[in-house]
Symmetry: C3
Subunit: 434 residues, 3 copies
């Protein structure tokens, strides 16, 4: 009798943790939406926000109909799940807690993608790719690493890719898909009326509100990644996860400010507000993988270095490539996500390269190998699938919104003129100087 009660209580507590944290994680949808409309010059705020709402709707359907089955269904050689379609055949209703919790993670991963393509896609394309990413692409990666039966983290092949809070699973996957989207969309030249459209008064407040919502959401995200709180060691693990999240967030923000002041020397106030907020988030993203095993000092290092990498990525993407990433979705999620996965085998306070002593070095370096290999697979798989989807949409003329079609054509025309002018100069240069 007592043992039965204890068993029920254990499940009750785990359910409390997972459901309440999932609620807080779902508020991150509002955070992403606010960051997007608050920090981007756009012609049509309505369309962007409608996309955010539809994103959740379609993503929910995608996850419940297919996504959960792909990620947590009985495995086929560790590659993807094959049952529980439309939540059927679940062993019991208790599994629904896990479904809801994982659903909040999937929604977050998909929301990352929307940032990089904000205001440029058509409704139809947006809804279809939301459905595919939430229903297939992201869940596959989850199955590999978090299902307990995936090829990257199970006894199946003896591999143990370590990613507590999702630097790899959530942020690298979402960030890669975002990069592919931005890549396929390519150059853009804002039409005159959009370019002159002043940043609205309320924007900075929305950005800040969005940031704070995401910050709190990340506490819930990383804290609940322990997945249960009723077993010995759980409360401690949850506590360390939230503390490290706060530290990484803080050190990311301070590092970004110092970088901007000392190295980059940008003085536009709005730019600094946005990049510091993004720096905080980048710090948080980079600690996700090791958030349960990093010491305080490691966390400060990972958070601040992740934020600096975010700054460098953001500046480089803008300067050296034709890729437009208006809300720095790839800078915040992809680059620090990769960084976090790579550092994890070094800073693990139990068996990391810096801590394990001489005896553990071989295992620790092997772990690093698994992480590098895993990253290549995650990025490769996500890049190929999403690039294919976006390209097909683009060829079918479904991808771009009406407005975007003009802006993209205009940008291509200007780019060709510039190329032509350069070769012209080149011609005279050749004639007169050689």
């Amino acid at each position: 009798q007592i043992n039965f009660t204890l068993e029920v209580y254990g499940r009750s507590m785990d359910t409390l943790l997972l459901i309440l944290c999932a609620c807080l994680i779902m508020t991150m949808q509002a955070g992403f939406a606010l960051l997007e409309v608050g920090s981007v010059k756009v012609a049509n705020t309505y369309a962007i926000l409608l996309n955010n709402v539809l994103d959740v709707c379609v993503g929910t359907l995608g996850y419940f109909l297919f996504g959960y089955a792909v990620s947590y269904g009985p495995t086929t050689s560790g590659f993807m799940g094959t049952d529980y379609w439309a939540l059927r055949h679940l062993p019991n209703d208790d599994a629904l807690t896990w479904v809801f919790f994982q659903y909040s993670f999937a929604a977050t991963a998909t929301a990352i993608v929307s940032g990089a393509m904000v205001g440029r896609t058509s409704y139809h394309a947006y809804m279809i790719y939301s459905f595919i990413i939430t229903g297939f692409v992201y869940p596959t990666v989850v199955h590999w690493i978090w299902s307990g039966n995936g090829w990257l983290n199970s006894d199946l092949y003896g591999l143990a890719f370590q990613d507590f809070g999702g630097s790899g699973v959530v942020h690298t996957t979402g960030g890669t898909a975002a990069l592919m989207g931005a890549l396929v969309l390519g150059r853009r030249k804002l039409t005159k009326e959009v370019a002159e459209h002043a940043v609205p008064e309320s924007s900075p407040a929305l950005v800040t509100l969005g940031f704070f919502i995401l910050m709190v959401g990340f506490f819930a995200f990383n804290g609940s990644s322990e997945a249960h709180i009723s077993r010995p060691g759980d409360p401690e693990a949850v506590a360390r996860a939230v503390i490290n999240t706060a530290l990484a967030c803080a050190s990311g923000g301070v590092a970004t400010l110092l970088f901007e002041r000392v190295v980059h020397k940008k003085i536009n106030d709005f730019y600094v507000l946005c990049i510091v907020a993004n720096g905080c988030l980048a710090g948080t993203v980079s600690i996700c993988a090791a958030v349960n095993v990093a010491t305080t000092y490691s966390t400060l290092f990972i958070g601040s270095s992740g934020a600096i990498i975010h700054c460098l990525w953001s500046i480089s993407l803008h300067k050296f490539t034709p890729i437009e990433d208006p809300v720095d979705a790839t800078a915040v999620h992809l680059a620090p996500g990769i960084w976090g996965v790579l550092l994890c085998p070094f800073v693990d306070k139990n068996k990391g390269i810096f801590y394990c002593g001489y005896a553990g070095q071989s295992a620790a370096w092997r772990q690093l190998g698994v992480h590098v290999g895993g990253l290549v697979c995650i990025i490769g798989y996500t890049a190929v699938t999403t690039f294919t989807i976006f390209t097909i949409f683009d060829k079918l003329k479904l991808l771009r919104s009406h407005q975007e079609k003009f802006e993209h054509a205009e940008a291509l025309r200007i780019h060709e003129e510039e190329l032509a002018k350069q070769s012209h100069h080149g011609f005279f240069h050749d004639v007169f100087h050689h």
Copy 2:
């Protein structure tokens, strides 16, 4: 000793669920306020928001002084409670958890009313009717159905009105009161400066933020309707409730979009954003009653049909009646609320008409009868009491705000001119063609 500890732990867990969910439910006040100011053209945003703040203040006092006593006090023949005024005579402080939790529900029901009358009522009227609805009208319905001793759901008369999350208790009651308010206020003709007052830049962001806050609030709302989490079966029930909430919300949004695109063919972006967000909420409202017993497929059906009913109601109200409901409060809460209560006896996966087999049909149809009868009583009681209150206020010239008095008089004048013109045309028509 161990049993004592277990008993304390059980109460601790229930308290955690109820208090934390009540906190999330209270954030819905912000969601309602944002939806209102974000989606309505108004002369005075300040007044609307002040009303929202006062709503909470006065509603709190109303609920704690009278409301809790009316809903959960010792019953008088199942009609209303008669003790615990001002929270006195409560058996112990543990009951306060339940008070706080129920208070968050009452605040939600009252907030629904404010939407339909947004920007048109005076302070004084607003505060008094908030007090009465939170203190008497809504608690009476709660007593009938949720107190355990009410005439509609207890052994008293052998009836068992089934309403897990409040499609009937919260949304039909709130929606009916809202409809009565809008009915008494009647026609409106915005004065020129208000009509020309552009929708502010930030509105769509506020609407979207409000929507996401309400969505998360509904997870907490329906999840915590189980009322405890420490008993066997609780974690599963909570999990099913939140999953079904997410599915109903998503299917509602998608159904609304399809309806708008295929049938209604509205193209105004702001309109589509607002109605899709409202469609999501309508889907959620219609699942409330059966949220713990509906299967995945039933939920998708209830959510999408509830959302379509919301669309039809919204369009009909606007086209065929002189009732103004600027934020579609009745379309979102009343119509889908009724729909949810009616469908519940069909979709209950344990004993519903579609699932119970031949043997259970008689009981299931009887259940439907109880639901129809219960709805008539809820709507009748709420309509009579609130209509009376609003009419008395209107006769005493207390109901309308200063600005509203002009707009209403102007609308009546125009309406009478039109009637006169029609009869004039009718006159010539008669003379020359017959």
Copy 3:
């Protein structure tokens, strides 16, 4: 075995309470930021919001590196802690839950200060004083009263300063620091372009949203002040705390409205919205100290009287002093905070002056003496340290932002002219009338 499981479960539940409430408390950062930008006329919203973000970053580092050690480290004669610097030497990871929870309180206390100096300080000054207040000033007061070993509340000197939710520890400390900041900054004359800068459209919505976030944050704040929920009596204490918070908030709002309508007769809608929201918060602040021991009626009295004191303070500060407090940070936190600490020994339903009967009077009045003495120490200590810091910064020309330097100089010039004119008038007055 069973006892071990029970012990783990107890910690699990406490962790759930503390971590989830800390998350809700951290959302208060967004609430403070929105109240600030929503209710202040400023030249540079970006700078204010960036300060709010940096506040959290620097405050986090300050608290984790020094603050926790100062507040909860092994004591030196009850004055301050001396170990756990940078969270080292903590007995176990379970302590991290407490660290995170206390960190959310420290962040709140520091955010209070920012309100009084909003838009007037330089980045560098802001970051340094955030660090010092979160790292040293506030934690010292916490050590005195909440550490269990402090001189004001332990067996050390037999004193027991009673402050459940922080009227004294959080709000009086934060409010005093805010007052010192405003005092050192002194007069301000907005430059013409700032003064004419219209209140943005979205402001009232942001203020209201900020208010609701803070309201819900306070539920979590006071509810979780019990610090655990797994022991007998905990659930009841948490429930009473949140109920009393709601009642104090509501009565504060209603009292403020009545005061404004009947006594002050201000009619500006925006002003009324802001002061009613602030009145609600003031009511909540004044109940904090006694929130677990006050009866329903006491709470209504404390909440409403605290709100009226807030109104009087706000009006007096504006009328009779040159101190600028644009968001009424001192009126909301300092005055009601002091009021709450002073009333606590009267209204304690177990041993307060009004309840303890003849036998307990001597102990109850002694308790009042401790509260008065404690307040003097808190205010004195905070005032001296923060005044010193701000004055040093000001002398080093580090305190004020670029814009502020002009505005302050202009205000001083005008003030001196007025003084000169007065003495001039005084001269003629003297000559011709005496």
